[in-house]
Subunit: 236 residues, 4 copies
């Protein structure tokens, strides 16, 4: 795909941050992820609903593992305040986001019981396994970098689609999904995550670790991309 | 010490539970912990306030590590509901309990800054290190057993002292501490913890693992006791 | 596939063991793994060499993660002797097996540098991620059960093919692979692993945990099977 | 204690290394550790043998936990070669060093059974708990820094005492202990550990992380010192 396609979608809040250095070190991989055909299919409403349902079921499993990774961030934090930030994210996922996800999925005809019984796709296992492995084997910075591809990617996609006049609003069943990530609560979460990454990177040698962290980040981005790709065709 | 001293203080809620089997397997160790001279010094108000202040400062560090252990319980849980229970405890400690602890300690002349700067005692390190090591090396059942000595012990102590006519109420600076653990919020937390232990023990072979789990539990109890003992004399 | 195809290939050493209970609880999944078309292609020499090379490259990455999992088994052991058993396996993999693997792969035209630079397949990530996640989240028994599908499966396959008169020996480039797993060093490793699982299962409530452990085992078997399936067609 | 007491004992091999930066950041703590009265009591043979026996029993438990920490280093390594280095240390401790330790202790009248049954001292728990906690919560660099206080300290002590004309050789029951750490096998182990720390520090932002790593290192040194101090008086 052509990474020059379309205007720059870099969110303001990442400019000059440590996250920007990671993203800039893997420009093609990043654009392949945030401008993926699956995303474009949501933007113009042409995505097959069966494909979106399969994605939602895997996304439920992803959320559970995402919460487990942030629980490890609590364990790996060095101060009370740092622990609190991650604990709030864990509680937010398990109390608020999960309820929203269940209710949203119900609108797509997916019951909670169905979602809980659904088996993980290989792509979900590969991605979640990677994040949790890096989270345990590395330090808090490795963990936050591994999670940042998802955290910022969804925020950037949401914002880019919401700002793009070509995005179909009327009658597009995917526009409410776009809004979740474009709206203030998620954008705020993303901004706080980006600024926290700056703090932890400063304290734990982020710049000196850029070669390794870029590899880690690029792998996370490629696993996100593989998740979209499988979502389009094979994932059940 | 004589474990026959005083009436039976077994909380109703543990009767017939898996926790009761652990407690009954280590009766002398348990009584030595819940009827420790440090505890009796709080009951009759004779405890040296300097000793109590030292205890409070270490207890702050204990709470942080306790929250880290419950964060590992989130990571080690097998279902969404199980994750939520532990996540609520982590959030409860870091948001509610910690604020109460800071405010309570302020009443004893200890500022938050002072507490955060205070170095851990050997006994705190030994106990917290033991819990976190068992939490990572074992499964969710090992983790919950390691934490149960503290969870139930403080609830049993609070209840026993609140119900004991010999406990000094008027002018006893420690009676508010007793109330925290005797009152409904903590008693409810304890009951839920005990019932959760039953569920996890049933699923993960608790009865068949009793010899190992009893050793683990007895060690946790002995480290709690050592914490009281050091609190009485040397801990700073 | 028809699981009645061919004679019973159960190794003698697993009869009556805890491992046999796991294997018997998932008969179709197990047969689908050990009699997989990829395996039959090695038995009769019809497997595409390009497919075998792709498998060997992923198998290198698998071995590294397998060694990491046994390193966690050292960490999670409860006694000096138990630690030694796992440490010997880690050292055996990294010193002996890896050298053999490199030399064997060189015979297939794969240099060590090429193998080290090769990216992991999704199926490798999914399987290794699963094993390491269960290894960290669970106890030593969870860990050993997760590893047992590979340990015994390869030994059973090697033995079955070596004993099967239909297996092509002359001019079959895969027969040396069969021999590695049929020969005494690996068979001995397998027997010791099976007997160790008995010991740890007895101590850590294996029988009472059968429902959960069977799920864990069946997932590991299905990820092994997916690894063969991808090996046949898409894995690079 | 006066850190100017006696000549400089800095081993040649650490000059200009990352380890030297850690050691130089905590000069008083370091000297308090390597010139501890317990050490001087071994140098001149005046140490109470009962105290040395108590130390040996705790040292056995320390070795087990030290091997567990290096097993985590295998898990946390990023390359095959890096994994091998730690795996060789784990195997070396469990196969070679432990046999030497058992045989050495037998010379002091301590049977292996006695050592295995002996309970851990608080100081052992505090130190081992700290190392394992940092090993799991941090990355490979945190882990190696936590272990370096022991690795280099014992090598520096051994070398310093072996080179010091004041050290009693004839009739000093502790001189063989000094030799173990002064002799080439241990000195080689130490040199390789120091050079490995340089490599990992370069890759994982060691210099930028000096404030945090110095705190970690200083804590490890203080826990080593507390171990000597308890060894002199109370440890059983």
């Amino acid at each position: 795909m052509n990474i020059q396609t379309g205007p720059d979608t870099t969110p303001e809040c990442i400019k000059g941050t440590f996250f920007a250095r990671l993203r800039n070190a893997a420009p093609a991989a990043w654009q392949g992820y945030v401008r993926h055909p699956f995303v474009r299919g949501m933007a113009d409403g042409t995505l097959d609903p069966a494909r979106f349902r399969a994605f939602l079921m895997q996304d439920y499993l992803y959320l559970l593992n995402y919460a487990r990774a942030y629980a490890l961030a609590v364990y790996k934090s060095d101060s009370f305040e740092e622990m609190r930030e991650s604990a709030d994210i864990v509680a937010g996922i398990l109390n608020t986001e999960m309820a929203m996800h269940f209710s949203y999925c119900e609108g797509w005809g997916l019951s909670r019981a169905e979602m809980e019984a659904h088996p993980p796709a290989q792509e979900l296992r590969a991605y979640a396994g990677f994040i949790l492995d890096r989270a345990q084997a590395g330090d808090l910075l490795d963990l936050l970098v591994a999670l940042s591809a998802c955290l910022v990617g969804y925020g950037e996609i949401g914002l880019a689609l919401a700002n793009d006049p070509a995005t179909v609003r009327e009658g597009n069943p995917y526009f409410s999904w776009v809004s979740v990530y474009a709206d203030e609560p998620y954008q705020d979460l993303m901004r706080r995550g980006v600024s926290r990454l700056d703090i932890v990177a400063a304290r734990r040698g982020g710049v000196a670790r850029l070669p390794e962290l870029t590899r880690l980040f690029t792998t996370a981005v490629s696993l996100e991309t593989a998740f979209w790709t499988a979502g389009q065709t094979e994932m059940t």
